[in-house]
Structures are given as C-alpha cells and as structure tokens.
C-alpha cells in the first residue's frame, strides 16, 4: 500500500538534481547546436549548416565587420601554439615535480620540512598577487612576449601541487623496492627512473592531465605576457572574438569554442578518475 508514496519520495532527489544540473547540460548542448546552425533560438537551430566550421579548412577567421580583409592569426598556428604550450608545461611539470618529490620523499636533508611547508604557503599566493612582479621578472630576463616565459611561469606556479601529488605516491612505495635496485648497483638516478617511476604511473597521469589542461586553458598569462599575435593561444583568439561582441559571428564563435573544447571533452570522457583526483588536490580558480 505504501509503495506508490515511496516511489514519489524516491524521485525527489532525482527531480532536484535534474533541475539544478539542467543549466550545465543545456548550455553545452546549446554551444554544440549553435556551432552547426546559422542562428539558434534557445536550443532550436534555424538552419543546419557547416559554414561555421569553414575555418577548419581555410585556417583563417576574419574579425567581423572587416569584410574578410583583416585576419586573426592562422587558426592552426594558434592551435599549435596552444598545444606546444600545454604539452611542454605538462612534460616539465611531470619531470620537475617527480624529481623534487622523490628527493622530499626519500632523502633526509636540512631544510626538508622547511621546503615542504614553503611550497604549501606559496600555494596560497594566487597568481593575481604575483602577476605584476612576474611581469617585471620576465621583462628583466627577456622572456616577456615569449611562450617560454609563459611556460616557465605556469610550471612554477603549478609546481607545489605537482610536488604534493607525487610525494604522496612516492611515500606509498616501500623502501625495499629501490633498496634491491641500489644493491644491484644502480645509482639513485637510475633507481628513480627504472624502478620507482614505473610504480607511480597513476600520479604521473594525474599531474600530466592537470598541467596539460591548465596550460591548454590558460588565459590571464597569455593576455598579460604575450603581445605578438603570432604567439597567441586559442584562449586569446576566442577572447578577441568575444571582444567584438557588437558584430560577432555567433555561429563561428560557437564552432571555435567547440574546437577548443575537444581535448577537454576527451579527458572528461576517458580520464575522469584522474580528473576527480586533481580537483581535490588543486585549489581551482574558484
């Protein structure tokens, strides 16, 4: 007799969750639909077309209102910049943080705990409070307006997080494993590379995905430290397209947005357990 009421009660969480989650799902759906249609009313496409995706073939996007005369930098150049930035940040972040984390996990030396707490304290200094000083340092080092400058800044600011993630993984590996390698005549560096690193693939994947996505999405440093258009990344290109809001070609902007999202969606679909781990460990923007 009580059954129908139970079902009603059981459906309450589903209903609430559906309502609060709907905006997220619908917004992504809208972006995708808009990228393949001339105009979109809510979620209803006016006329399905692939015209918005023309930049994939031509490689160029014109700022609106210039009748195709002025051009943003080549889309593929910008994508290549973005990819190189992200992959370099990821590679450096993985290498440097696992080297340092190994030392912090295995060696006892003076200043070890001081270094560990320093990384924690520094982690709470957000980029905005350091942006002006970093601008100055990049100018002095001659790294202003170079992608290397942005890469080094990104790697450094994400380093505390990477070190703490990797240290957790190293701490979980018993001493005996590398002791036997050392007894067999490996140097510490060889033992680290051949014996320890294969055991922390989960941690490396987390650091890799986190720093790749963080580099791929980076906007503020590109906006602040890059002047030349040929060094733009996708975030800067998309921001420039939004900036022309009065004349913006919405379909093309949506297509560009979907294009930019491809690696994010791939990681979201196939590497979710790592994403969950890094969300806990990272402080996130908000």
């Amino acid at each position: 007799m009580a059954r129908p009421i139970d079902y009603l009660k059981m459906s309450v969480p589903y209903i609430i969750l559906t309502i609060v989650t709907a905006p997220i799902v619908l917004m992504y759906a809208m972006l995708f639909i808009a990228s393949c249609s001339r105009t979109v009313y809510g979620l209803i496409p006016d006329q399905i077309t692939l015209e918005n995706w023309r930049f994939v073939i031509t490689g160029y996007i014109s700022p609106p209102g210039t009748s195709g005369l002025a051009k943003y930098p080549n889309v593929y150049l910008v994508t290549l910049n973005t990819f190189l930035l992200a992959i370099t940040v990821a590679a450096l972040e993985m290498t440097i943080s696992s080297l340092a984390a190994y030392a912090l996990s295995r060696y006892s030396f003076r200043g070890r705990s001081a270094f560990l707490s320093l990384t924690l304290v520094l982690h709470s200094f957000p980029s905005i409070t350091l942006l002006i000083a970093i601008f100055y340092i990049l100018k002095v080092l001659g790294l202003f307006d170079t992608l290397w400058g942005v890469i080094l800044v990104k790697v450094s600011l994400d380093l505390p997080l990477g070190i703490w993630i990797m240290k957790g993984f190293f701490d979980g590996i018993p001493w005996d494993v590398e002791m036997s390698a050392l007894v067999d005549g490996c140097t510490r560096l060889q033992a680290w590379w051949k014996v320890i690193m294969p055991n922390v693939k989960g941690g490396l994947a987390s650091v890799m995905i986190f720093s790749f996505l963080s580099g791929w999405s980076e906007y503020i440093y590109i906006l602040t430290f890059i002047v030349s258009e040929e060094k733009w990344t996708l975030s800067r290109l998309v921001a420039a397209m939004i900036g022309e809001w009065r004349f913006v070609d919405y379909g093309q902007l949506a297509a560009m947005g979907v294009f930019y999202m491809i690696p994010v969606v791939l990681f979201f679909l196939f590497a979710q357990k790592y994403l969950l781990r890094i969300t806990i460990a990272s402080k996130g923007t908000v």
Binding site: K9, Y14, I16, L17, V20, T21, P23, I24, L26, M27, M30, L31, T39, Y41, G42, I96, S97, L99, A100, Y102, A103, Y107, F109, L122, S124, F125, P126, I128, T129, L130, L131, I132, A133, I134, I137, L152, V155, S156, P160, T187, S217, Y219, L234, S235, V238, A239, I242, G257, Y260, M261, V264, Q272, L275, L276, T279, I280, K283, G284, T285, V286
Partner: protein, 313 residues
C-alpha cells in the same frame, strides 16, 4: 664514501624545482612588496615613495565600494554554491543510484575543466534576451512570461534589491566553485559507516532528520575546511568576472583582485599603475591572512584535527 655520492644526487633531484620556485614564486612575493613602495609604471623605474600608494588607497573613492563588492561576492557565492550547492549535490547524489549520482557529479565537473573563455561564451548566450537566450527561451517555452535581464543594475524583484548583473556573476562563479566542495563532501559522506545511518532509521528518523543529526555533524570538518579554503580562492578569483562583465557596469561588479589587475594592466584610464596594483595585491594578501587566522581561531581547527574522524555526538 656513500655521503659524497649522496649530496650531488640530491641536487640533481631538487635543483630544477628550487630554481623555478625561487624565481617565479619567492622572488615575486618579495618584489610585489617592494614595488608597492615605489611609483613604478610601464617604464619599470624604481623610485621609492614610501607609503604613498597606501595613502592613495585610503583616499580612493572606489576602494570602499570595491571592498564591499568583494565581501558580498565572496560571502554569497560561498554560501549559495561553494558550500551550499556542494552540500546539496553531495547529499543527493549519495542518496540515489550510485551510477546516476556519479553522472550528475561528472556534469558538475565540466565547468571547472572548460577553458574560461568558452565557459563565458556559453553564459553570455544563456542569459541573452528572448528569442536567442537559452534561459529566456526556456521560460517562454514553459509559458512563463517573465524576462530575465542581463547586465543591468535593475533589482531582481521589489522584495529582493539584488541587481541582475550580480545574480549572473554569482551563478557563473558558483557553477565552477560547487564541484570542489561536492567532491570532498561526497568522499566524506561515503566514509560514514552504514551502521550510523541504519541506526538512525531504526530509531524512526526521517531522511531530513538523518541528514541534520547524523550526516551533517559527521562531515563538519570537511565543511569547515571547504569554507576556509574556498574563501581564499574566491577572494583572489577574477578571471571569470574579467571576461564576463569586466567589473561593469561602471564598477558595480568590480572585485578587489580584478581592481588590482585593472590598475596594473588595463588599457584604459590610468593604465600600467604597477605600483598601485602591487599595493592593492598586498592588501589582498593581508585580507586573506586575516581571514585564515580568523577561521583558524573561530573554527578551532587544531582541536578538530585532534578529534577522531568519526564520532557520535
């Protein structure tokens, strides 16, 4: 003999990290403080002016307004989303079928990993006027004749004097912020032994009573941690606001971190005031420190850390 080989390898391991952290972390912290005592602009010249920038801040007629904006933004987003929505999501998704719950949580993770520029495009369209904007289109589709407004200072309703633009700024940031707490609370709720929930049910507690008297007290520590941690994250977040409203209209949604960025790097009105921007950044750090110390004292984190993870009160 072993010692002699130990030291060089230690440097091989540590040196890259040490150099980067010294160059782009420790040095900037010190430089920011020093720059705030100069009148540096785009020429990057050092000229000591003592506390002039700080006096200027006291006379800055926008500073009090922006400070109020910042506290309002941090408090409201924190209460409604980073803690409030996070609690709702974690409690509800752990009370339904596990796979479905995980799918809902995954959806909330998306805004966090989406590039901020693309995320803002979506919000711009979601709040656009009828017939283009998603939300207004949905409302009209459901037969509700009510227009959501975008970047206006008009209040939402006569009984709620909150400007529309603030609603959107809080939602834009809140939809990113909720996932952090959601993940931590979910892990904490899953760690509660089933016996406690069952015991409450046997005693005749309703679901709401179980949540209020069993679950919430048991996840008190994660809730306090997320509150403290996300306060600092929100205080220093400005990227989404920069892209979404750029602090406008006027200075209506300008927050302290964004003001510092604007003063140092904006292309209009008094651009490249590096020294003033640095002074604003220093004040932001001080506000953050005060918040941390207050949380530490008020929540008595030290005592909480000594308590066992699970206890029944």
């Amino acid at each position: 003999m072993a010692r002699r080989f130990r030291i060089p390898y230690l440097y091989v391991f540590l040196l890259p990290a040490l150099i980067l952290i010294a160059l782009f972390f420790v040095l900037p912290v010190i430089l920011t403080l020093f720059i705030s005592f100069t009148d540096m602009d785009y020429r990057l010249r050092w000229k000591w002016v003592g506390l002039a920038n700080y006096y200027k801040m006291l006379r800055d007629r926008w500073a009090p307004i922006i400070l109020r904006n910042t506290f309002f933004y941090v408090f409201t987003t924190l209460a409604c989303f980073n803690v409030g929505m996070a609690l709702i999501l974690s409690i509800l998704t752990t009370h339904i079928h596990d796979k479905v719950g995980a799918a809902f949580r995954a959806a909330w993770l998306l805004p966090r990993i989406t590039p901020s520029t693309v995320y803002i495009i979506m919000w711009n369209w979601a709040v656009a006027p009828y017939p283009y904007g998603l939300f207004n289109w949905l409302l009209r589709g459901m037969g509700i004749n009510y227009e959501l407004k975008k970047f206006t200072l008009e209040p939402v309703a006569p009984w709620l004097p909150l400007p529309w633009v603030w609603v959107w700024v809080i939602l834009v940031n809140g939809f990113i912020g909720a996932s952090f707490g959601m993940i931590i609370f979910t892990a904490a709720i899953k760690a509660i032994p089933a016996d406690y929930i069952n015991a409450a049910k046997v005693d005749g507690a309703t679901t709401l009573q179980t949540i209020r008297y069993v679950i919430l007290p048991l996840i008190r520590w994660p809730v306090l941690f997320v509150t403290a941690y996300q306060t600092l994250s929100l205080l220093t977040s400005y990227e989404q606001i920069l892209l979404f409203t750029d602090g406008g209209p006027g200075y209506a949604t300008e927050v302290w971190a964004l003001y510092s960025f604007h003063k140092a790097f904006a292309e209009y009105a008094g651009a490249f005031e590096f020294a003033y921007g640095a002074a604003l950044a220093v004040v932001l750090v001080i506000i953050g420190l005060i918040a941390s110390i207050t949380y530490y004292k008020v929540f008595r984190f030290r005592e909480l850390m000594l308590e066992p993870k699970i206890e029944v009160t």
